[in-house]
Symmetry: C2
Subunit: 445 residues, 2 copies
């Protein structure tokens, strides 16, 4: 497999500067479009163009398809609308539509596409947002009329297959293009030539509406092990198909976004993004954390008398808040995971809360005992040790409950529940922990 190293880029750069076409071409021949697309952004723009010009047009189009979006926008600025149109003509409509959506002048580019059918397909696809089925689908697919024979079907497939990237199944439609079912390529091969499509097609077909959410499409294809799913409109008319590779990207992206949300990053960013974007994505939750911290300081101010009498109470503030935070996030992440697997799962069940309580009870007891023993040994202060242990026990129970219920509530209100596994729950738990600690102390001192 190809591995991009600094030495590799260095060698390539030198060869380009020396105008050593032979060396560069021999390097490029070893690479797949995906590899070239990972090399190109590491070079200066002029060097990238140099490499690009050594490829034939089909390869150029494939490399453009694979480029990182940010780099692609910049790179394509050096091409005319007509040149871009020619590239789009060479790749599948879903990828072409994605590229068009990044451009400032998509209509102008579409006008320059010579293949009229392709231009029309792309115009259609531009209507869909990229988080719905229509935004993932491609127009290229193989359709067969219900009344064809297998022989006629295979002939048509040969013709249509020239336009279609990957062949999975043949979609069966009626005369008005309404989706009726499918025939797998395998079944087509196993059937006699005179068989009618209507005799062998499978009418129990899973299809999705063009406006179904991309995440739901991904869950559906994963659950039913589909490599492709047809997309229909309200009237059941066949519009296109979604292939598994696009759905793999959706799944990966969803996981990355959840991870960022859990880490308190508000908008999807990458390390490569600008300082300004990175700051903007980080500051909001930091400010929420600050507000929580200032509120906490105000709260502690109410107990100034107690703190100045028993200074040692302050020593355990970090222990209390950290334990609350850790327990809360552990609890919430399992709920977030269950919700990700099945957004309709029976959420507020008694069983769930009962089990959560038992778990918190055991963990809380274990923690209270361990810390109590250690504190007694280290401090020889029975009263403070007791206050800390009793507080920890309650903090574990409350944080666990808060960690369970917060993602469920957020989910009910349509907010990504992963938010509840990040700074939000930590901030809440800090305040909760401090409250429990000082109220128990006030009761025992």
């Amino acid at each position: 497999m190809f591995e991009l190293t600094d030495e590799y880029i260095h060698q390539l750069r030198e060869a380009i500067l020396d105008d050593n076409k032979q060396f560069v071409e021999s390097r490029l021949e070893e690479l797949l479009p995906q590899d070239i697309a990972s090399v190109v952004p590491e070079l200066e723009m002029a060097q990238a163009r140099y490499i690009f010009n050594l490829l034939d047009q089909k390869h150029q189009a494939l490399v453009i398809r694979e480029l990182d979006e940010n780099f692609r926008v910049e790179f394509l600025e050096t091409f005319s609308a007509e040149e871009i149109a020619n590239y789009l003509n060479l790749i599948d409509s879903d990828d072409a539509a994605d590229i068009l959506n990044e451009q400032e002048n998509p209509e102008e580019i579409i006008e320059k596409i010579t293949d009229e059918a392709k231009a029309k397909d792309l115009k259609d696809l531009l209507h869909y947002d990229d988080d719905v089925a229509g935004g993932l689908m491609q127009k290229e697919l193989i359709r067969a009329n219900l009344n064809w024979s297998v022989n006629k079907c295979v002939e048509e497939m040969r013709e249509q297959a020239k336009r279609v990237g990957k062949l999975y199944s043949v979609y069966v439609v009626d005369d008005s293009d309404k989706l009726l079912g499918r025939v797998s390529v395998k079944k087509m091969l196993l059937s006699e030539e005179e068989t009618m499509v209507s005799d062998i097609y499978d009418s129990e077909i899973i299809s999705v509406d063009a406006f179904m959410k991309a995440n739901e499409v991904a869950e559906l294809m994963k659950k039913y092990d589909l490599v492709a799913v047809p997309v229909v409109n309200n009237y059941g008319k066949l519009l296109g198909r979604i292939t598994i590779d696009d759905v793999v990207d959706v799944i990966t992206e969803k996981a990355e976004i959840d991870m960022q949300v859990m880490s308190g990053i508000t908008s999807p960013v990458e390390e490569e993004d600008s300082i300004w974007d990175l700051t903007r994505s980080r500051l909001p939750w930091l400010l929420v954390g600050l507000a929580g911290g200032i509120l906490g300081a105000q709260f502690l101010g109410l107990f100034e008398g107690m703190l100045s009498k028993v200074t040692a109470m302050a020593f355990f503030i970090p222990l209390i808040t950290a334990t609350g935070g850790n327990v809360g996030i552990q609890s919430s992440s399992l709920i977030v995971q269950s919700l990700a697997r099945d957004p309709n799962f029976n959420d507020f069940s008694f069983h769930r809360f009962g089990k959560g309580f038992l778990l918190a009870f055991i963990n809380g007891l274990a923690i209270a005992l361990v810390v109590g023993l250690v504190n007694l040994l280290l401090m020889n202060d029975l009263k403070l040790s007791m206050v800390v242990s009793v507080a920890l026990f309650h903090v574990v129970i409350f944080s666990s409950f808060l960690g369970t219920i917060t993602p469920l509530i957020l989910h009910r209100f349509g907010v990504n529940p992963a938010v509840a596994s990040g700074p939000f729950i930590t901030t809440l738990n800090d305040l909760l922990g401090l409250g429990v600690y000082f109220i128990i102390a006030a009761a025992l001192y």
Copy 2:
């Protein structure tokens, strides 16, 4: 789409208790195996068997294939080795091998499989761990000899396709079964019958070694948009193929595990697991957090004099630790993400640390100013406000650095870097934050 509801289960249960076969059968006819597999675990074991007995053997096998692993183990205990063997004979070898691996007596079951080729395939597959390519691969694939004609090839495909679940491409081998390349089904359809396989096959084929890590296989298939990849041994002999649906599961599982690791859960668990498993997966990091908290208490003990003089200093402990934790996790999660995308990325680059520093500088300054102003307004204590702000500024810088370097170091030592986005970094940052706060206070007071 099918949606599992409490009412649905309730109705079904009633019908089973009334022995209303007709109703239950009409319900089952509407469902796909994946749906039945989600219904069955909601019922009592005897009710599950009742439903199961209404299905034909092929459907039974498909439902078993789709069952949740924990439930499946329990469910299959009520079947004989011979019955299980018959089911395994009806599903693809990769799924069959997964089920065998869950059983206590896999060899006994294999012996009862009547299809000798299948039994041999399964014996082979049992040798591989489930985190390598061999553990994901299936033996079913279509192979063509280099010297065949397209006509002969299509004939053979028809024969072989009976055993193969999904048809993607035809793998081309020489007489000793060495993998030479592939022909797509599409190309096969587009070629004349007399064409030789050797004239149309694509020799630039991506294959993986049977011992390649599952995660790497997933990255590879994702990067190159592959729906199937052939698996070979050291000598290039074709062993099997891995299909995209298995890789989608690997990607999802990796994301779930990373999320759990980030949440301080040590071993992969689900909400449904036993209290004991859940406790065991949670306690370790909670104890690490406790150790950190106790260490923190000891550290604060060193500043008892200062704390009893300036009680208000204690008020800001939660603010300091929370900010350190939030910043640290934000920084580490972006590194974890970059590492997940490309495990070989140029990690300790000057550019990365420079940018991270600039970002931390801006965030730190913003935070210090905001908190400083608010504190001045609320407390009217210039000195303490300054101490808190200066400390926060430094905490942001240090936590950001720690959050950047910790996952990189863990990755170098072969530990999942996601560990660094959880309680580990929070604990470190709590201690770091306290240190910075009190050292600055000691300098300024």
